[in-house]
Symmetry: C2
Subunit: 436 residues, 2 copies
């Protein structure tokens, strides 16, 4: 039987996950492929460190070039993470005509264009299902399955840490800081959680998803980013009162002739499937012209889910090797020569409905002043609510408004004026309404 | 630019859907493929019939052999439906070395093995994404994306008519007959709805999904089938009381060394994503060993969603043609030589928890008699409820029980005995509990 040999750079959690999943399913993978997959070597940082048992029968080296230069190896799996070293090793491997599987979203978000260009030059494939949404086959869906569709919007819950924190705050009533500590204890948040809670991890993933969905290059720097650190229990309770759930979203959408891309916590209507995606689960809801709404849901992180996605890429790549069909699907779904930068909307031009919470002195005439400013700035309201039992824990009282769709620039202008009123005691909170 | 020519057999709803979606997205498809797709001809039954505008610039013929014999055409799309004619035309086309796209679930469920064998002999691809779940790329997910997974269970809502009827009964409180009439008026149920409401359409789809998921041949005749015709409002109200929603499921699962496959209405826990799949939407929840739960959701029928799925198959096939990679993925995910019949569980061996509703005379000692029989037959109970306000509209009162997991044979034995009690006034209703 034909053997296809794999070299893995990185012997950590995901690397051993790949070895585990391959070991469990070796016979069914062989039955699919008509060939045997074999991990021929794994490059690790420190040979003296104890390794997962799944790697016990595999040759380890601390020199990644041994793996890259091995003529028997046709697929290099990069699981080192980080941008510089990983990028250089991948480029060296491509120049040795090795096909590449990676789960490195940071690398693709910053150096994807360069890597894909060199890969095309050398005629090799670069697959990256594990980079977004862990085990959910969302890259394959956007790159291949939805090839007949014009996609108009993607709404993703693509960061498990923030979904866990907001789900736990919703269920327990605990505040943000206590819930973050709990997430750290459970291993769902890192010691430095900034990249997750601040939205940067989701922004990298959104740039990759948007590039595939809208078939133009979207950079991480194009994505407007707002973290979840400011969410209060009062916002969660109010969302529930009006039939919404607060979710950490990554949204890319066509607006007029442009693409708008943003990461932010939003009020998601309980009528949307996304409102029911809880805990560490991820999902991407796609809206496209012929199919309408479709959704892809599953575990967005973890050793086995991500290992499974990486292994699925290896199998797909092995099929291309066996059929001599490398390059069968272009790296970014469209032919290299057709790739153009996306026209990104200025953030102030993005249109959305909003939830607004004003914190004001409890005295007559306050609502009138706020409503007048909103009207002058062109915001039209669906709901205004002054009768809120919930204690906001400040020296003010809340007024809540839900708006119809409005440009972000008009919203900012209105909030700026309202926050300067002497009757306003705390900055106004605003969150987008989604799927209402 | 390279042109890949397509011939369509069948100029009805889906055929014109394919033409419409291609026409809308011709430039982006070209950018993906680096080639132009062209519908060269459509075979219709009756040339005098008025056709959708999308077909106005395409040559029509009433002789399908003109299409099949056209040497310029490399992809034949079969959208005639039915088993005999469609099957013969597909076999003729394969013998002319044409690749085949079909959305014909009935044909695949009954003659799939024969068609795939001939296709392998002639080295052509047969794709069938549109046969199950309309536009949801569930076939591609099971056949390719989840290639690294051992799948243990699939739970699908794969019939839009029955999901619409049960959703509408849940929302409106109307009874089954009135809701079925409404579904017919809205075009969501056919004039003869038997294949949908009786579960046979879902059984065909489940046989295809199970063959791919469990990598062994599962026939339509292997699937146990129960329709939705017996669902009462009292069952819907009781489900809601206990945190469940009644959904029309198609379930395939590994139990011990066998596969069990069944179509039935079930009590689905509101904690399961499936409980939130409403109206005509479809979804398939997959449980697999490394990834855990994943779900694929979208519109399961309709001109554009199904047209979109067929066109995605055409694009995928065109990629194989351009890379000379036909046969890159085996028809049924595993190599032909490895395909074996599935070991199907006898229906009486299937294990599940159940909702039971007994209709009894309102007199002392009845619950004791029922509980004694359940205990003797080995059923253990989670909840028993006698205090039901809901009027059951008969001359009895209801007793409700939710059981722990039990073999279907034990359940049947218990129900048979209970239904013979003089205190039982109507046959006992039983539905499986899912995702509790």
């Amino acid at each position: 039987m034909n053997i296809i040999s794999i070299g893995i750079l990185g012997g950590g959690t995901v690397g051993s996950g790949v070895a585990r999943v391959l070991d469990s399913n070796i016979s069914t993978i062989q039955a699919q492929l008509g060939a045997r997959l074999e991990i021929r070597g794994v490059a690790v940082n420190d040979l003296s460190k104890e390794r997962d048992e799944s790697l016990s029968s595999i040759a380890l080296t601390d020199d990644p070039m041994t793996i890259i230069n091995d003529p028997e190896i046709s697929i290099i799996v990069e699981l080192i993470g980080g941008v510089e070293t990983a990028g250089e090793l991948i480029l060296q491997a491509i120049r040795k005509k090795k096909h590449i599987v990676t789960a490195n979203k940071a690398l693709l978000a910053s150096r994807g264009a360069e890597i894909f260009a060199v890969a095309s030059e050398y005629g090799v494939d670069v697959f990256y299902e594990g980079a977004v949404g862990g085990g959910i086959p969302i890259i394959r869906a956007l790159r291949e399955s939805l090839s007949s569709e014009r996609i108009v919007r993607i709404q993703g819950i693509v960061n498990g840490t923030t979904n866990f924190i907001l789900s736990a705050m919703t269920n327990s009533g605990a505040d943000y800081d206590a819930t973050l500590r709990k997430a750290m204890e459970l291993g769902y948040a890192e010691a430095d959680p900034t990249a997750d809670v601040g939205g940067h991890d989701a922004a990298q993933k959104l740039s990759i998803l948007s590039t595939l969905a809208f078939r133009c290059v979207v950079h991480e720097r194009d994505v407007s980013v707002e973290g979840i650190e400011q969410i209060d229990q009062v916002d969660i309770a109010l969302a529930s009162k009006y039939g919404y759930t607060i979710k950490p979203l990554a949204v890319g959408e066509r607006q007029h002739d442009n693409i708008s891309v943003g990461v932010f916590p939003a009020w998601v209507s309980n009528n949307s499937m996304l409102a029911h995606v809880n805990d560490v689960f991820n999902a991407v809801l796609v809206e496209s012209e012929a199919l309408g709404e479709s959704m892809f849901y599953g575990q967005g992180a973890g050793q086995l889910p991500t290992g499974s996605a990486v292994l699925a890429d290896i199998i797909d790549m092995a099929r291309n090797i066996r059929s001599q069909a490398a390059g069968r699907v272009p790296h970014l779904a469209i032919q290299d020569a057709q790739i153009k930068p996306g026209n990104i909307s200025a953030i102030e031009d993005v249109e959305s409905g909003y939830y607004l919470r004003f914190s004001v002195k409890d005295e007559p005439g306050v609502l009138g002043k706020i409503a007048t400013i909103l009207g002058e700035e062109g915001l039209s309201l669906r709901i205004v609510d002054q009768e809120i039992a919930q204690d906001v824990g400040t020296d003010g009282v809340p007024i809540v408004a839900l708006t119809h769709s409005v440009k972000a620039s008009a919203l900012s202008a209105a909030i700026e004026r309202i926050d300067q009123l002497v009757t306003t005691v705390k900055p106004t909170r605003a969150m987008r309404l989604v799927g209402g």
